[in-house]
Point group: C2
Chain length 326, copies 2
């Protein structure tokens, strides 16, 4: 099943069912007005949404054309956004540039930060920021959305709480991050609003590509129309999503609509390219002594998408332009 949230006058938009090919959409007000409402009672809403999805795919239902650029984030404002760092090739490369090894603890203890969730961007919303000097970067990720999760859940039980899967652009302001992290309290200025794929999909929709809480498909990233990365999200993911959920819930419950990100998708095989600029830069530093690739400029575009084995877009594309906001 594929679901999206269309922009309306309301802050939370309206949830729609979208067909498999991402061409048709249908409001489902009898089931839920918003995606949060559906997640609040997923056990009741999900079978009815699946019925509507089936009818839409089989042509048995009125519809209107689905326009991915009218989509808000699936949750335009969410109660929780936690971002992991599950691809250690990303972490290892970034550390290598400053001569630091990967601490062994990171093999068993996921890195995760609490991110801002009060404003989530739609797939075609611009990245609005003040200054190019802040080091504007994209980070292409996979994320999951959960229902309610109990405190102290096991990895084994956590998988059943993965209700929806999305793509995320976790926009980062690289030059603000070192000073910010040095203060010791995590990210605040370095991580402005993230953007989301036009649709969120249920695990069953992914078939064999969804296996053991990992999504085994390449995540393609284009920067100004040029392929920048196509790392496989199922390869080199040290901690699967069930493990990330269990980690998040170690000392507290998670409420329905919690979004958990994989961290920047990255493979040890560097011929797959990169899912963020900073990773390419640190490889350049290690190989040549200095970074030659710059960060994003105003007017630059990034496109993040995932195609299935038949070449069809699973989530629709995140397609953003960088704009100066003042």
């Amino acid at each position: 099943m594929k679901l999206a949230t269309l922009k309306t006058a309301d802050r939370d938009g309206s949830v729609v069912v979208v067909n498999r090919e991402l061409t048709k959409a249908k409001f489902v007000p009898d089931i839920a007005l918003t995606l949060q409402e559906a997640l609040d009672n997923w056990a009741g809403a999900e079978p009815r949404l699946q019925q509507a999805y089936q009818a839409l795919n089989e042509g048995e239902m009125d519809f209107f054309p689905f326009d991915a650029c009218q989509a808000a984030a699936p949750l335009p404002r969410a109660y929780q956004w936690l971002d992991g760092s599950a691809y250690l090739s990303h972490v290892e490369r970034v550390r290598k540039a400053r001569g630091a090894d990967l601490p062994k603890s990171l093999l068993n203890d996921p890195l995760m930060y609490q991110g801002a969730s009060d404003i989530m961007l739609g797939a075609c919303d611009p990245i609005e920021t003040v200054s190019e000097d802040w080091g504007i970067d994209f980070e292409a990720e996979v994320g999951v959305i959960t229902d309610d999760v109990e405190l102290g859940i096991s990895c084994g039980d956590a998988a059943s709480h993965i209700k929806l899967i999305v793509l995320i652009n976790d926009v980062s302001l690289r030059r603000l991050i070192p000073d910010e992290l040095a203060k010791g309290f995590g990210f605040l200025h370095g991580k402005p609003a993230s953007a989301f794929s036009p649709v969120a999909v249920t695990p069953d929709e992914l078939g064999a590509a969804w296996n053991l809480s990992r999504l085994h498909l390449p995540l393609t990233v284009h920067w100004n129309g040029k392929l920048f990365g196509h790392a496989n999200a199922g390869t080199d993911m040290q901690f699967n999503f069930a493990r990330l959920i269990a980690h998040a819930a170690k000392t507290r419950k998670l409420s329905a609509g919690t979004i958990i990100g994989s961290g920047t998708v990255s493979n040890y095989d560097s011929t797959t390219g990169y899912s963020c600029i900073v990773e390419k830069r640190v490889v350049e530093i290690v190989e040549t002594g200095k970074a030659v690739t710059g960060f994003m400029h105003f007017g630059d575009q990034v496109r993040i998408e995932m195609l299935d084995e038949q070449g069809h877009s699973v989530f629709g594309a995140i397609e953003q332009e960088v704009r100066q906001c003042r």
Copy 2:
């Protein structure tokens, strides 16, 4: 004006107007069903809520008795919780215990972290945790709730976005924090759900005690019935709430219902006691070489309250018991 959210079958509860003495309450469904709904359109809702508040205080309105222990957090799930660290006597004492000076940058650059906001506790909800070994501590704070704030707002303009003021118990698991902060990505396990005062109040309600975005009243903290601290929240607050809002909004907008905390209230005059256990412990370490005060045990109680100059409770009391959750 005083507002509360009463627990109902709905996750967001129902907003009520509460009279000045915290004895009477009234639902206001014609104005807003939830506090978030009121904040989403504060300019429209606020004058009507003020009218209802006035009528309730003047006895011109039906009411039911207000029971603070039926109150959820004003926002039982919020889109954003950012906690500052505005009282540098707290920061200085904690650092002194490990032989570190206060970095001069902290005099001009607020510390702030992105906290979990998906589950906020009501004033009488228990602190549920797994183990006493985690070092269970309270942190008594003042917080503000904003409407929509634009990116890059000035301190001068930020003050007008302070719509409501609350008390907060920012529960902390002290023994999990050092390892967590050493990982570099801020708090995750060390900060479980925070609790909130029964009511949120508008700045005008505080009279002269609210001055230049600071709240000039003592915050009393009792631990198992014994006075533990009564630091004045208006004293030694290095950054006022307008400054904290401007800091939060440096690289992004803040959406309506954003909660910003002061950090643990603390005065340089140590005769006012402490608003968290760890601060007392570090003073003991500096003075005697070791901490003698332990952290909280299951069954312990903490009470956090603020009285006005006439001795009346402004926000009602946060009154929580620690319980083992499994």
